[in-house]
Amino acid sequence: MALRLTVADLDAGYGAVRALQGVSMTVEDGETVVLLGTNGNGKSTLMKCLMGLVRPTKGMIGLELDGVRHDLADLPTDEIVGLGVALVPEGRRLFPKLTVEENLTLGAFRKAARAKLAEGLAFAYEAFPVLLERRKQLAGTMSGGQQQMLAIARALMSSPRLLLVDEPSVGLSPLLVSQTITKIGELKQRFGLTVLMAEQNFHQAVRIADRGYIIVHGEIAFEGRTVEELRSNDLIKKLYLGGAA
């Protein structure tokens, strides 16, 4: 009601390569929606379009916030962040030569978040105690799991309403993937977030999802209105359990 993301008939690409074709999807307030698909199917491109990092060639991206509509396809990234959209990028993209605390502080760059910097840091350290222990350490020298926690904590520093998470499982051990997904679910509850998560790891992703989309070759191939629909879908079996099924 208060927040709704609508993507309609979106095309995007890099030069002659078309990464997305006619993608339409919605995310409603308070939902956790997963975007499933194997590598190279356009998940990250869609995330980048939502953040204004890649400009779509066609279609529209609307974000409705408390009755006001914003067209994200026309806004620069810093204004999109300012609206309350935050991205945990693929591969984490931390500032490796800055300390943990500097990384977190940069997450609060938007004007509204700066005023609540101390509060935000306190929250981050409470949610991720390991970051408090390592606040003076350079981000690039931490382990993969710790870096992923920092990337999530940094995104939360901007007090977002819509959290985009791009492939949180990349480069992590199965145990850490499971922990990360659980953490995202917890934080979502705690901060009342709306979450859109792109992920290849089907079994982990559906644990916290309300519903989802399957993206194949830049097109939405299937829309699962419930987790059950996703689980029982043939495409999933084909993509994840080998074509024989």
Partner: protein, 320 residues
């Protein structure tokens, strides 16, 4: 916090008073001739570091800004008879504009490509001025200094005090940038520009700001050169030496803190001046090159990094 801010400005006033005191105490004008050059380099290195150090965009066009500063001053002096401070202010405005244009280059050019573009910019601007007869073109131009203003008794001593004032302005700006959200954003850009963008850092706006501040200071540093030498020609005004020195001094001093370029410029500037007097001016460039190599290999974080390490070792030694 406010104590520290006041501390800086009290220190700045003391330095300014000391500079004026020196002009009264020291008779030999040569000290001020040499001192002024070092002050100029402190400003150039500090200005370079705002973009090159904090944001990691290596500008090879310091000499373009310096040269434009010199010729803005000459133009204002010849056309309007503007006094020195007006010449410097005009040069700063030109520098900010030129910096803004340089900043627009960063939209498409990163890393080495940005650096090459700034070299090209230097050559283009130098060629334009060479063909501009009004300011002397290729043959250069003589400038007749106006009489010195009170309370100074010689023009070079006045330039020296103005140089100290400009250093204070440059350091104050650099210090402000470093400690503020601007500096945080620039450091994020240096580390990972895409990630900076993702976290909501307005990258383009910050780069344009850094380029403009840096450019304004560089041009302002160049402006008094015309009056200093009473002559200007394009070869010396656009000399590549300014680009190399500003970069080398920052790297040797340390780029992460405003004090780095100041320290680097003093150490290198004094060495160069001493060598010029004792051996030859040609040897300068060689020394600069050798020192740069030594530091890049042995102390990548510059003199400041060495000092920090030494300090940490001392603290540890004292504790045990």
């Amino acid at each position: 916090m406010s104590m520290r801010r006041h501390g800086f400005w009290i220190g700045a006033l003391c330095v300014l008073a000391l500079a004026y005191g020196l002009t009264l105490a020291i008779r030999n004008e040569y000290a001020f001739f040499a001192g002024f050059i070092i002050l100029q380099f402190i400003v150039l290195a500090t200005a370079w570091n705002i973009l090159g150090g904090y944001a990691g965009y290596v500008n090879f066009g310091t000499s373009a800004f310096f040269g434009i500063g010199v010729y803005t001053a000459i133009f204002l002096f010849k056309a309007l008879g503007a006094p020195l401070l007006v010449q410097m202010a005009g040069a700063a405005v030109m520098g900010a504009l030129l910096g803004f244009v340089t900043g627009l280059l960063t939209l498409r050019l990163h890393g080495i490509f940005f650096s090459i573009a700034t070299v090209a910019m230097t050559i283009i601007l130098e060629t334009l001025v060479i063909n501009w007869k009004y300011v002397g073109g290729a043959t250069g131009i003589q400038v007749l200094r106006p009489p010195v203003t009170e309370p100074f008794d010689s023009y070079i001593k006045m330039l020296f005090v103005i140089g100290v004032a400009l250093v204070i302005v440059a350091v104050a700006l650099s210090r402000h940038v470093q400690g503020s959200w601007i500096g945080r954003g620039l450091r994020a850009i240096r580390d990972d520009e895409t990630a900076a963008e993702c976290t909501g850092v307005p990258t383009l706006r910050l780069k344009l700001l850094a380029c403009s501040i840096s450019g304004a200071l560089m041009c302002a540093a160049g402006a008094p050169s015309a009056m200093y030498l009473q002559f200007a020609d394009t070869t010396s005004a656009f000399n590549l030496n300014y680009s190399v020195s500003a970069l080398a001094m920052s790297l040797i001093g340390g780029t992460s803190h405003w004090a780095g370029p100041v320290l680097g410029a003093i150490v290198l500037g004094v060495t160069q001046q001493a060598l010029t007097v004792t051996i030859s001016s040609e040897l300068n460039v060689l020394v600069l090159g050798v020192m740069l190599i030594l530091f890049v290999v042995g102390a990548p974080e510059g003199l400041l990094g060495l000092l920090r390490k030494g300090w940490a070792r001392l603290a540890r030694g004292g504790g045990s």
